[in-house]
Amino acid sequence: MSEVTPNMYRYDEFDARFVAERTAQFKTQVERRLKGELTEDQFKPLRLMNGLYLQLHAYMLRVAVPYGTISSRQMRMLAHIARKYDKGYGHFTTRQNIQYNWPKLVDVPDILSDLASVEMHAIQTSGNCIRNVTADHFAGAAADEIEDPRPLAEIVRQWSSLHPEFVFLPRKFKIAVSGAPQDRAALAYHDMAVEIVRNAEGRTGYKVLVGGGMGRTPYIAQVLGDFVEKQDILAFMEAAMRVYNEQGRRDNIYKARIKILTNALGIKEMRRQVEIEFAEIKKTGGLQVPQEELDRITAYFAPPAFETGLSDEIPEAGKDFANWVKTNVHAHRQPGYAIATITLKTPGQVPGDATADQMDVIAELMDTFSVGEVRVSHEQNLVLPHVRKKDLPAIYARLKELDFACANAGLITDIIACPGLDYCDLANARSIPIAQSIALKFEDLARQHEIGELKIKISGCINACGHHHAGHIGILGVDKKGVEFYQLQLGGSGAEDASIGEVMGPGFTEHEIADAVERVVNLYLKTRQPGERFLDTYRRVGMAPFKDAAYEKEAA
């Protein structure tokens, strides 16, 4: 099978030169650091803007996967980098990126050159700037989609790349976009989010949210613009960014995100100030997005040449396959096609990790079955966006060989976990072993399917990279006098019914936490009404019975 080039954004000479020059620039920054011309304090913001963190044991390089879309050619390069410069694996993140945990500083310029050769980079994957833009991982494929959000994401990517005014913001700034009513991109938890909506006249435009976030002060985003015309979106975003750059707090990094400013000003005042700024920016006209530009970018993301006349039935291929279809296969806009999720969550594995060999096989699956394309989801899974239903049994069989065929998408073992104290400099507690122990406890597939949709999200510290506030069951690792404890939070959601989980009470030890989760789940099974998900039952009955169950008060 030869390499298939999917319909996605392709660099022209300008993009290519931009990334090449940026790579060369960082190379000289690394050289200056190695020669001692830059102190670590001065080097830090520069390396962060290029995706390079200094972690507990080593540097970590975070590579941008713009809006989560990867071609098979790029996937093979990611495998190559894992093999050549790292320990043979990579980690897909909740921001649709991939991280390498063991690169050497001297190798980083070479890694960036290798990435540039497949139109990839690590620009703005960290630092106090506009981060890599994320999108619905079913973009361009989902049955419920109004419009593919990726053209907008690409327009935002270009506008935000080395934006001279916004590279030293008070704090990092995360933007997500979605084109569907079902929110698969956790819009409400972003600094800024754009949802493509249709107005009363049937025209599409952008609803803009601002001020969502996790961390130690979680907030659900509020509406900044109900309906922003498409050509105005960059002017509107620039207006909001400017208000934030001017007034966001710089005296305390824990209060520096736009969510704090939004809530300090109040959304009404925020809207008023952004509107004034927006009107001023529009006067200069330079940021308007002409229809031709929108069309030009949209053309890159044209739907693939779908076959017509295919049967819309999924073939029968046994019980295991049927289970997998139930959880991991999703409705596609095109008859005869489906979307397939590859969960990187087989119980026992590190959530989101893939080895170089696995990446190579996934690249082969992409070429053979999904027009050369895969998506990274914020739930740390991979998604084959365009597969023929008749090919699903063959895909399943190949995934099974990889140990990536677990029928658990959206179920209790499909756990989001941050790298935690195993890797991260900020963490207070380990996340990965907790995810592993819970997944192993609920390994029995029949039981998982019986429990149904249940999202567990685990963070190893208050910064909430594991999205614990948005988990149906959230777990937060804390350090108490040198001992790791795990707090339970219930009732969070990162979907269109977004909510912040409620803290249950005192934490559990690492040996108790999986059992506590099990007691909570058992209470749900006992209490639920027909058709209720865990989240629905929690919202109906509240914390008290779950709390009693978790702390075994019933038994006392």
Partner: protein, 163 residues
């Protein structure tokens, strides 16, 4: 010691910084916003060049009515991570139409000079080891830009359209 780079070359700094409580010397002066607001009429009546230095939390829009009488606005970077002055410079140039000198002072890095140049700075108070050669290198590391700013540089989108 510091020196001034202006319009791409070393330049003489003709502005004498004046403390808020010091008497005004003859010639061009650089004063704080507080001093300017306090002695505004006297300063404007002198008919010598006036510069105002803004702290990073001072929005230049407070100077809007007097900008045509000012020759210099110095924007301070109290530490290089404080990026507010990038917005202030942009507002001065693009919204308020200020055509005088916008000078970067304080703590900033070689790697920020290009961004400063883009948003409207045209003068830099630099430390001794910072050379004019470094300045030009900073400006030329990246050929093209994706977004319009105060430098009037054609964006990549405009370059594509012109092809």
């Amino acid at each position: 010691m510091t020196k001034l780079i202006k319009s791409g070359a070393y330049a003489q700094d003709n502005f004498v910084p004046v403390a808020d409580d010091a008497a005004l010397p003859d010639g061009a002066v650089l004063v704080s916003l507080a001093r300017f607001q306090k002695d505004r009429d006297a300063l404007l009546a002198r008919n010598t060049p006036i510069g105002v230095k803004l702290a990073s939390d001072q929005n230049p829009q407070v100077l809007a009515d007097d900008l045509s009488r000012l020759s210099l606005v110095a924007l301070e970077f109290p530490k290089f991570r404080d990026g507010r002055a990038f917005s202030w410079a942009r507002i001065l140039r693009t919204r308020l139409g200020f055509t005088g000198e916008i000078r970067a002072v304080g703590d900033f890095l070689f790697d920020q000079v290009n961004y400063q140049h883009r948003v409207g700075f045209d003068a830099w108070e630099v430390s001794d080891h910072f050379t004019v050669e470094m300045f030009h290198k900073a400006l030329n590391e990246m050929t093209d830009v994706y977004q319009p700013s105060a430098d009037g540089k054609k964006t990549i989108r405009e370059l594509r359209a012109a092809k």
